[in-house]
């Protein structure tokens, strides 16, 4: 199992903080998360584009869509937006 933790406005808007997923590649997580978003709120304004607007970080290092995952990995999905 892989733990996926969400951050940023996507997390606030979807209400999803964390999911445990049985996946082997980063790209596989997106449709599953979107299904969960829609299950929670069928009227959601969130889209796959919003989700893919996140930086993906695997065990503390930024990775691309094709990165392979192993049992016990933790993925962070963080939006790139800024300003402080």
């Amino acid at each position: 199992m892989v733990t996926v933790k969400l951050f940023g406005t996507f997390r606030l808007d979807s209400g999803i903080k964390e999911m445990s997923l049985d996946v082997s590649s980063v790209k596989d997580i997106f449709p599953i998360i979107m299904d969960e978003v829609k299950r929670r709120d069928p009227q959601t304004a969130l889209t796959m584009k919003d989700l893919k607007g996140c930086i993906v970080s695997l065990n503390g290092k930024q990775v691309g869509m094709k990165a392979q995952l192993q049992d016990g990995d933790t993925l962070f999905l963080v939006p790139a937006v800024a300003g402080g």
Partner: protein, 639 residues
């Protein structure tokens, strides 16, 4: 008097020693060159300081200044600036504040105050339609900030037998006791950095209240209103100013900073904090934020409101979360909310307070100074802040800041400051352009005055954060642009919309990735723009500030003039600092950031400061010693 709208046409000299008010000469040519707010304050300091003044000497000036857009209804425009000689750094500082004082100063018919001398006894000043009343403040002295402001409001109401609309600012006990990083607070917003509150305290000036019924004149009301409406819409639609900042405030940066390895941790030993998700903007928004608040006239509203001990108070900004979280190895968000409130009430800068504390924890750990403070130990922190404000016990020394302490006890390599000012929460070893900015910044280790390149390197855009290429030229451009935005009286966040939305919301797209790849090769192009801003004699849709100046004041403006004014502002500030001994030798960072890689296996994860500094001085047209030449000052019409 002035021919330009947007201004009240009055800059006043306030002599505290004699309770005397006089006009300070400020011409329309000055307005054209320096626009307002921080830039005008720097020029006034340049014209008045000889280099012999010290922060607490009577001949130090406090300049409280507004911009021409303040009070005209422009988005995020009711900010004001306080400039003075800093007791923490010994050089100039400017602190920008979103409180209500600036707006009401203009309602009182005044653009700026140049304050000198020292009140013979503790005093608060009431300004009503450019009339000044000096009141004794012996009974306010000792009051914390909100109590002091509530009492002042009560007195104003009582005198006029109604609720008086007024703007105010006040210091707390930290300012009275001249803590070197004491703040001035206006409403709930702070002019926080580099000890402006201590200078108020040294002058026995507890508070100021402004009220009046002047209207700020606008040159072309129709065009101005239309522009402001469109501008507000743009800000509301942009992913940064319309979504991220309103929903999460600056606190929303904790998580992206963690991902990018730039979240100051354990006094900047590391760039990632294991428990960041317990002190993040997400948790703040989900579990603690009651309502979004903002400075006056702001459609973004990035401020948080939280509950501390049954009261609704201002929530922490990113810098406070970072430095009082991972910075001192504390994962308890509720404690940060409480400390943030306590520091505001005592009237103290949260950044310098937290960073000085982190230095003291490490000094204790290394046996340099036995002080009872340790990373992760939180029980004695509230008490320590109070001790700093009242200068009791170790608090008396902590009140001097980390540079002073490291000079006394050793540990300079890990005193995370530049020119005496503690850095904000962005760890620059994985954002080397931000590192350059911290080092060359005129007010010392300031993320904003340094150009905020972290937004290009890590947050927002993602241009190679380890390469020095193009960083010096970009740093200069960003510094100058931020100077220009500041001098209008507006919040720097209004300039974020300069980054096209798609670059922010689609970081993984081919276009964004290409832009990120290309940026490090843009140095020569940026250099041309920096050198010949005349080529940008037009308005840029993404920067409506230039049109706003034209429509609101009637003064000619375009991107070229705007950038030039920012450059002039940066140069005049540097020229003031030169009088107080600043040169290249003071543009430094602690060795932890320049000599020790953040990742021991990756030697590129440190700040290659000297390489970038050299290019930066060339870009600025300064001499090898990092100073503007006489010729440069003449060319910029500063002398």
């Amino acid at each position: 008097m002035t021919k330009y709208s947007g201004y009240m046409g009055k800059v006043l000299m306030v002599d505290l020693s004699k309770s005397l008010i006089s006009e300070y000469p400020w011409s329309d040519e000055d307005r054209e060159l320096y626009i307002g707010a921080k830039a005008m304050a720097s020029k006034i300091m340049f014209d008045n300081f000889t280099g012999k003044e010290t922060a607490f000497s009577e001949d130090n000036l406090i300049i409280v200044s507004t911009g021409p857009l303040t009070g005209t209804g422009a988005p995020c425009s009711n900010r004001f600036n306080i400039s003075t000689l800093s007791p923490l750094t010994g050089i100039t500082t400017s602190s920008n504040c979103g409180g209500n004082f600036g707006y009401y100063l203009k309602k009182a018919g005044i653009d700026a105050l140049v304050i000198r001398g020292k009140c013979p006894v503790p005093t608060w000043i009431e300004i009503k339609n450019d009339k000044f009343f000096f009141h004794e403040a012996g009974d306010l002295w000792g009051m914390k900030v909100s109590q002091s402001q509530e009492e002042l409001q009560r007195r104003m109401n009582e005198a006029r037998k109604c609720r008086v609309k007024c703007g105010m600012l006040s210091i707390g006990p930290a300012g009275e006791n001249m803590v070197k990083y004491a703040a001035v607070i206006s409403g709930e917003r702070a002019a926080g950095r580099a000890g402006v509150g201590a200078v108020f305290g040294s002058k026995n000036l507890k508070a100021m209240v402004a009220t009046g019924n002047h209207e700020v004149p606008v040159f072309d009301p129709e065009k101005t209103t239309k522009l402001y409406q469109k501008w507000t819409e743009t800000l509301r639609k942009h992913p940064l100013t319309g979504n991220q900042l309103p929903k999460m405030g600056t606190a929303g940066l904790v998580s992206p900073m963690q991902m990018r390895g730039i979240l100051s941790t354990r006094n900047y030993a590391y760039g990632q904090y294991e428990h960041f998700d317990k002190v993040s903007g997400e948790v703040l928004a989900e579990d603690y934020n009651i309502v979004n608040k903002g400075c006056m006239s702001c459609p973004i509203k990035c401020a948080r409101t939280v509950n501390v001990e049954g009261q609704e108070v201002k929530g922490p900004e990113l810098e406070t979360l970072g430095l009082l979280g991972g910075g001192i190895m504390n994962d308890n968000l509720e404690l940060i909310l409480k400390w943030n409130y306590e520091l505001d009430e005592l009237g103290m800068d949260t950044i310098s307070a937290a960073s000085t504390l982190a230095w003291a924890m490490e000094a204790n750990e290394q046996g340099l100074w036995k002080n009872g403070l340790s990373f992760g130990k939180t029980a004695n922190i509230s008490k320590t802040f109070e001790n700093i404000a009242y200068r009791r016990g170790i608090g008396n020394e902590l009140a001097e800041g980390s540079r002073w302490l490291s000079e006394k006890y050793g540990g300079k390599d890990f005193a995370i400051q530049s020119k005496g000012l503690e850095l904000a929460a962005y760890e620059p070893r994985r954002s080397v352009g931000q590192g350059l900015g911290y080092a060359v910044s005129n007010r010392g280790g300031c993320h904003l005055n340094g150009g905020y390149l972290v937004i290009v390197e890590n947050l927002g855009l993602n241009a190679d954060p380890q390469t020095p290429h193009a960083k010096a030229d970009l740093c200069m451009l960003m510094q100058d642009l931020m100077e220009s935005v500041s001098m209008t009286g507006q919040c720097l966040f209004t300039s974020y919309a300069v980054f096209p939305s798609f670059l922010i919301s689609k970081p993984n797209s081919v276009v964004t990735k290409t832009v990120n790849k290309v940026i490090p090769f843009l140095g020569p192009v940026v250099r041309i723009l920096n050198k010949f801003p005349g080529i940008a004699s037009f308005h840029l849709f993404l920067l409506p500030h230039t049109k706003a100046i034209e429509y609101a004041t009637g003064m000619k403006c375009n991107l070229a003039r705007f950038i030039r004014a920012g450059e002039r502002s940066y140069n005049v500030e540097r020229a003031v600092n030169a009088k107080f001994g600043v040169s290249a030798a003071m543009d430094t960072l602690p060795k932890r950031l320049t000599n020790v890689p953040q990742d021991p296996k990756d030697p590129s994860t440190k700040v290659p400061l000297e390489v970038m500094k050299k290019v930066y001085y060339e870009a600025r047209g300064w001499d090898k010693n990092g100073l503007p030449t006489e010729e440069k000052l003449r060319k910029m019409k500063i002398i």
